[in-house]
Symmetry: C2
Subunit: 461 residues, 2 copies
């Protein structure tokens, strides 16, 4: 089997098996593997077993569902190409929660095809792309009985809920995971037909705040005027952390932030689509908000942010209740940029929160998870291979994207394993990630399979 | 039957029937008549029927459960004392919601006696005191076969959820409800054994805010930095409305506020208990908060306030979800003081909210209910009668209280019917009104019955 023949046979195999590959993805999408909700623990496990079974079916060896303190990891390898590079493949099989459920037009775990779009929670993030990696390996191994490179596959089950298990595993198993390059399928592309390589991602620090007041709930008539109100205290804290123009007021927060380069500004300006118009359309708003003194693409990808994700406290039923609650909880995260380390930022954040906390109430802050930002050189050997693979599949040069989201695994592979990551992405801006009516543009499933075949073959040359 | 003999026979009757009166109150407390929750509609109705049945049993005439657009009113009358004054009696049979249920030490609708305290939702607010009025009428009518005055009874079923029904009814039936004085049982007393007449109450304006952002929920990685966040917008609004020192920043809000008189300051200073220490103890906090440049009792009763009662929006489950929600709701009320009219304050409030609303999000404000403040002259004939009645029952002069809560019915009787209200109160500061573990100090049930007997007799002299 010459490696030159590898892609063609495998790509033909993928085309011939298109229908089965789709049906298998539907099966996976029916498993409600919501990693952040304890009641879905068994579903998460079943999804891990499903992925492991397909890795075995593809011909991978040493396939294993690895128990962790959290949700399981799935591992598999094929090391039959001595002298060839080793590629570490990554995706995740867990999904976001589905609330608010009433806004879904079709049930989130009954995958529904409408035209070219496949609607289901996790279709785009990340079951579709992740499973494309598995199916690319099947295509290569079934068509050629060998892979063009050595491969290690590590599929995660808690990307949407902190990723502590994979972090511990990566730190504990650097030799098992040793590789020359990592191929990560968990990012996006700007529009149909335009392939993309992501070279930058933001880091994240996700926290939970609890604000407490009196020892019990109080009647606002009897105590209003002398009583601490934790809900109002939370408002003071959140309003103090970020102003109406998007500026974050945490002393020291912006100190490590790097300026973007001229090359990046030029790259953004050369995008063959209207970034701002696309964002406005996606959000249905008339004007983008935030730090308007920076270009939209810069503040969406190269500026740190602070967002409140949820607040719950006090009386939230129908009608009126004149209670001063003694507890409110909020979830707040910061997207971080290179050189803002989550641990260091947490200390600054916590200090700022405490200083903003008004008299009479107490606030506690804890980290749910954190991850470093990533910024990769555009000129590496691996970037070139990815670029060539995408050009071959899409018939078009890829665009280089700096993204606003976080794929902490990239930073982890980079800094802990010293394995440079390559991010090839197949999600579209209107895929409704983390929102009701998530969908995957189904032609991208096959293109993702083909792109992985080409990339592995290119690396093997 | 001379009116002079009326109280003694009736008071003896009440003592003789103490045990039955208690058991009947327990029956009423078992009905979960939560007026603000639609699922309890039938329970509210059953409580109204229960009260009507006991009014009939007491010997009242024209007893009626009056259907309204909301929850029913209960009416009864006894007009057999021509030439004597007519007293309008008021209480309410509905109760607050019970959440958070897990903080109750005994089930809220299984009344439980611990020592002298009867634990149940509504025990103190207001089923215990309200039912004491009914039982006082029974005692007078059964002991004397007549009342010392004419009586009209109007019992409400939505005091805890807006009171629109009674407002409409009072406005529509001024002749039926015509009276010389109203006796209202829905306030408190500062400590065991110290009777109280309330001469001032705050008004209220209760509102609901909805803040909306993008057309759908957004991923904070993809959109963070350019996306509107309604949860943060709400924080900016709430923090802008009131600062950390309790000052409300609504232009014009304080303009109508009257200064308190020297007489009131002297009255407060003469209270035979430490107001601040009591408040601190009740709340379990080290220092009272708010506008500390005003005395605690002034800011608790004679200063307007603004409180957030509940906030819900975004992801509030376990773990982490990186969503920028497009909707958050909050409940906000203001306690008002004399000359701050709810309608006028609403306009100022809404304008301030709109001005504080940051770019990219939209806020809507609606009123759930409103009511005027009340400030009564201390020297009236009716106040004297109430004072005499309480002195006779408690063996001690009553204290005159200005209260922070709102009993909108008082303002309604005063301004619409031109019937001056008299507030005699039997709730204690530690009764946990509107909170888990509400209780009623059971000896006050009998004292409330005796006080009503004495008041009606005194008015009839």
């Amino acid at each position: 089997m010459s490696s030159a023949s590898a892609p063609k046979g495998a790509r033909d195999y993928a085309v011939a098996n298109r229908e089965r590959f789709r049906l298998e993805l539907l099966e996976l999408l029916r498993l409600p593997s919501i990693s952040t909700l304890p009641e879905h623990r068994q579903d998460v496990w079943r999804a891990a077993e499903f992925v492991a079974q397909h890795l075995k079916g593809a011909g991978l060896e040493a396939v294993e569902v690895i128990e962790t303190a959290g949700h399981p990891l799935v591992y598999g390898e094929w090391l039959g190409a001595p002298g060839k590079p080793t590629v570490l493949l990554y995706g995740h099989y867990d999904v976001q929660p589905v609330d608010p459920l009433d806004l879904w037009e079709t049930p989130p775990f009954e995958p529904t095809l409408k035209g070219d779009n496949l609607y289901a929670r996790g279709a785009s993030d990340d079951k579709g792309p992740m499973f494309a990696l598995v199916k690319a390996l099947e295509a290569l191994l079934h068509a050629n009985h060998a892979l063009p490179v050595n491969v290690k596959v590590l599929i995660e089950g808690e990307e949407e809920s902190g990723g502590e298990a994979i972090e511990a595993y990566v730190k504990g198993h650097p030799e098992r995971l040793a590789a020359d390059v990592a191929l990560i399928y968990d990012t996006g592309m700007p529009e149909v037909g335009l392939p993309a390589i992501t070279y930058g991602l933001r880091g994240i620090l996700y926290t939970e705040l609890e604000v407490r007041g009196a020892k019990r709930d109080l009647h606002s008539g009897m105590f209003g005027g002398v009583a601490p109100n934790p809900l109002h205290g939370l408002a003071l804290i959140l309003a103090g952390l970020k102003d109406r123009d998007g500026h974050i007021h945490i002393p020291g927060f912006y100190d490590p932030v790097r300026s973007v380069t001229e090359q990046e500004r030029t790259n953004w300006a050369g995008y063959p689509f209207d970034v701002e118009a696309g964002l406005r359309r996606e959000m249905g708003i008339e004007a983008l908000v935030g730090e308007t003194e920076y270009p939209a693409e810069e503040r969406r990808t190269a500026r740190p942010t602070l967002e409140v994700h949820g607040i719950i406290g006090g009386f939230t039923g129908e009608g009126a209740k004149t209670v001063i609650s003694n507890l409110v909880k909020a979830k707040v995260s910061m997207r971080l940029v290179p050189d803002q380390r989550p641990d260091a930022i947490f200390l600054l954040f916590e200090r700022a929160v405490q200083q903003l906390c008004p008299p009479g109430v107490e606030v506690t802050v804890r980290t749910l998870h954190g991850g470093d930002a990533v910024l990769l050189p555009l000129e590496s050997h691996w970037m070139m291979a990815a670029s060539k693979a995408l050009r071959s599949v899409f018939g078009q040069d890829p665009i280089y994207l700096r993204e606003g989201g976080s794929v902490p695994i990239g930073a982890l592979f980079d800094s802990v394993l010293h394995v440079p990551p390559v991010f090839m992405g197949f999600g579209l801006p209107d895929d409704n990630l983390h929102a009701p009516n998530e969908k995957f543009y189904l032609p991208n499933y096959e293109l993702a399979i083909q792109s992985a075949i080409e990339f592995l073959s290119e690396v093997g040359r």
